[in-house]
């Protein structure tokens, strides 16, 4: 398995070293959803250089839901328009938007998937796109089948473009899927991102509490000063808020009626809290946090990217707002209390 950690994470002075386990040994497929969310939070906390959250919370559940076998190793997820045709065209058919049906679901695919998380570290990618006959399809691409154009996010995490040049995807790796599964891919990605943010927020709190209790100015630790205390408390609060939203979404994963909306809430809150959490953590760190001398950046720069990825803060808020405004009077409180 090829893992290319970002250059910076090699030297990162984490209190606990990155365990091999966190990167290599993935939990079994039947792991409880709440435990998977906990692992994603830990990956966010440790700045784990692998698509762990994507694998556990998005790729694997989507493959299982689509009835495809789940391969070993780290997986990534990509969605977007591609040029998709049937490999084996049914010559008798005259129907379908592309003019012909296939004798099976095997596809030939060309195009580019943009900014795919950790593609260079993944064994395979779960791809969602519009199928040749109309309607969404999901297929599994193996790492050898794409060409990679390296890119990174604000934290230096890989966000690679995948270039597909007439790739043949065999029928056993393709599934037509209902629109609901496309939605599920979206909210699962949002939850995965929220879990990562919750973990990174926790790291911001720990680093800040350590820093303010050890750094001395005016002859006293920073944590002695009222102004510092006031800000530090708000930091702790905002991180706890994200954790609560993510935990609620984790426990709703096993409740089909509320899983989607609760994941939206977690995604929206996690993204919205990034500004306050990173502002306070950096302010209380002083200049050292603004440099490579402190590991704070491993958390904060990731959070600045994560809040914009997988739809982004604004889109989550709009989804929630539309849902509430369409819900009739009393709708808001009923949505919040789950019915």
């Amino acid at each position: 398995m090829s893992i290319e950690p970002c250059a910076e994470s090699v030297a990162e002075p984490l209190s606990e070293p990155l365990s091999e386990r966190a990167v290599d040994a993935l939990p079994p497929l039947d792991t409880a959803p709440t435990a998977l969310v906990a692992l994603a939070r830990e990956a966010g906390y440790r700045s784990t250089p692998a698509p762990l959250a994507e694998t556990l919370l998005v790729a694997r559940p989507l493959l299982a839901a689509a009835g495809l076998a789940v391969p070993d190793g780290q997986l990534t997820v990509a969605a977007g328009p591609l040029d998709v045709r049937f490999t084996h065209v049914d010559t008798d058919s005259r129907v379908g938007p592309s003019g012909a049906a296939g004798t099976d679901d095997a596809l030939r695919v060309s195009g580019t998937l943009h900014r795919v998380p950790w593609a260079r570290a993944a064994e395979a990618a779960v791809v969602l796109t519009e199928g040749p006959g109309g309607g969404p399809v999901l297929f599994l691409l193996e790492a050898t089948e794409w060409r990679q154009v390296a890119g990174t996010n604000l934290a230096g995490e890989p966000r690679d473009d995948l270039v597909l040049l007439d790739v043949a995807v065999p029928a056993e790796r393709v599934r037509r899927i209902p629109a609901a599964l496309v939605r599920e891919a979206t909210w699962r990605s949002g939850l995965a991102r929220a879990a990562l943010i919750a973990g990174a927020a926790r790291r911001c709190v720990e680093l800040t509490v350590d820093h303010t209790s050890s750094r001395v100015q005016f002859g006293r630790p920073l944590s002695h000063f009222q102004a510092v205390k006031q800000e530090e408390a708000k930091l702790v609060e905002e991180a706890a808020l994200v954790a609560a939203a993510v935990e609620a979404a984790a426990s709703a994963l096993s409740e089909p009626d509320s899983a989607e909306f609760t994941a939206w809430l977690a995604a929206a809150q996690a993204a919205a809290s990034v500004a306050e959490i990173t502002r306070i953590a950096h302010q209380l760190h002083g200049a050292i946090g603004f440099t490579e001398l402190s590991p704070l950046r491993l958390a904060t720069t990731r959070m600045w990217s994560w809040r914009d990825e997988d739809s982004g803060e604004r889109a989550w808020q709009q989804r929630i707002g539309r849902h509430v405004l369409d819900g009739g009077s009393g709708g808001l409180w009923q949505q919040v209390t789950g019915g």
Binding site: E206, A233, S251, L265, A266, R314, V324, L325
Partner: protein, 388 residues
């Protein structure tokens, strides 16, 4: 405490809570149809309606957690949580019994004599006995241990002298639990005691202090040599500080610390629905508030569950109260941006401009009452220090 203790985890409400929630909603729908005034912000401060209180009591929704032997409901904290969050979200007039239900009842159960329990608790649960909080004074706000009200020993009990301030509802309630100095000892925290004072006593003089809105809920409560028997002492002499701290935990952890302005947001949603098309900007802002509300509620439920399980949660309660009360104010600012309608206190009662005006005029109080947010943040960082 460690940082992990701040992670309270998700709370699954028991199935009976879901049934109970529906019962409360049905009850509220009937009340709304019958014309009871609902949907008002900050209704637990100024929504005075003793008849409504008695209808709640008949349903068993006051004193729910008090033991049945004392006329209570013998129900769980989480069940009470569900009932009161529904009442608050609906902006129901609950201020008459609020303090009696939230803190006087549980405090008397915990520290009171058998005679006090038998006398007060059934009346509280029946919605027939209302309480005020007699803690703050002119010169004792955040620094509550500096109170100057004194109780001196007499032949038959105690004589109480001093002036309490900001005493909500003292002009309409039956009793106040008053914190007074009983011993001029060196340690400020020792030497304080609590008394149950009859507000109709001829030596109690209540003088109104009007709010920004002109409403009357605050008072000076002049205690002009009130003669008390020993039966008025609540708990042990000198234990007042410990008792009052426990009382503040009850006062700080509930859903009234983030739901005070929710009725305004619900009114805004109704207003937007009536006007039809909403811009993406309006949708996003409503969504942002909804996500924050839902997340704070999860934290608050976590505190309720921790308290119900007997785990200490003072720091967590302080955390939720700071987040929640700031949210109450942010919500008011935000709805003004979402739908720029000018607030008017003299507009028709219950109309959107009037609800907005009420929420604005009440806003400074959200982050002061029950311990200011600055003091709460001090509690949080003290918790962090202990975790180091």
């Amino acid at each position: 405490m460690t940082l992990s203790d701040l992670d309270l985890g998700a709370v699954q409400l028991p199935p009976e809570a879901t049934r109970l929630r529906q019962e409360v909603r049905d009850f509220l729908a009937a009340e709304r149809a019958a014309g009871t005034v609902l949907g008002r912000p900050d209704s637990w401060l100024t929504g005075w309606d003793p008849a409504f209180t008695r209808r709640l009591a008949r349903r068993g929704w006051i004193g729910m957690t008090l033991p049945r032997a004392y006329g209570g409901g013998g129900r769980s904290n989480l069940e009470r949580y569900v009932v009161i969050e529904e009442l608050l979200a609906a902006g129901a007039p609950v201020s008459a019994h609020w303090v009696a239900d939230r803190q006087a009842g549980p405090t008397i159960l915990r520290h009171g004599t058998e005679a006090q329990r038998n006398h007060f608790l059934p009346r509280i649960a029946a919605g027939a006995c209302f309480f005020s909080i007699g803690m703050s004074e002119q010169d004792s706000g955040s620094d509550l241990a500096s109170v100057r009200t004194r109780a001196e020993r007499t032949a038959n009990g105690w004589r109480l002298t001093g002036t309490k301030m900001w005493t909500g509802g003292a002009h309409v309630n039956d009793h106040a639990i008053v914190l007074a100095r009983t011993d001029e000892s060196e340690d400020r925290h020792a030497g304080l005691s609590q008394f149950i004072v009859d507000l109709r006593d001829p030596h109690v003089r209540v003088e109104p202090i009007r709010l920004l809105s002109g409403e009357h809920t605050f008072n000076y409560c002049h205690l002009e040599g009130v003669e008390l028997t020993d039966e008025a002492l609540l708990g042990r002499p000198g234990d007042g500080w410990r008792q009052v701290t426990g009382e503040l935990a009850l006062e700080r952890s509930g859903p009234e610390r983030f739901l005070s302005t929710l009725p305004l947001l619900s009114a805004l949603v109704g207003q937007l629905q009536r006007t039809g098309a909403c811009s993406p900007e309006q949708q996003a802002r409503v969504g942002r508030l909804t996500a924050r509300l839902a997340s704070i509620r999860q934290l608050s439920l976590g505190v309720a569950a921790a308290l119900a399980a007997g785990r200490p949660a003072d720091v967590q309660a302080a955390l939720v109260k700071d987040l929640g009360t700031r949210f109450e104010g942010e919500l008011v600012n935000e709805v003004r941006e979402i739908l720029p309608i000018a607030a008017r206190f003299d507009a028709t009662r219950g109309s959107y401009p009037e609800l907005l005006a009420t929420a604005i005029l009440h806003a400074p109080g959200y982050t002061l009452r029950g311990g200011t947010n600055e003091i709460l943040r001090g509690i949080i960082t003290r918790g962090l220090e202990l975790s180091r």
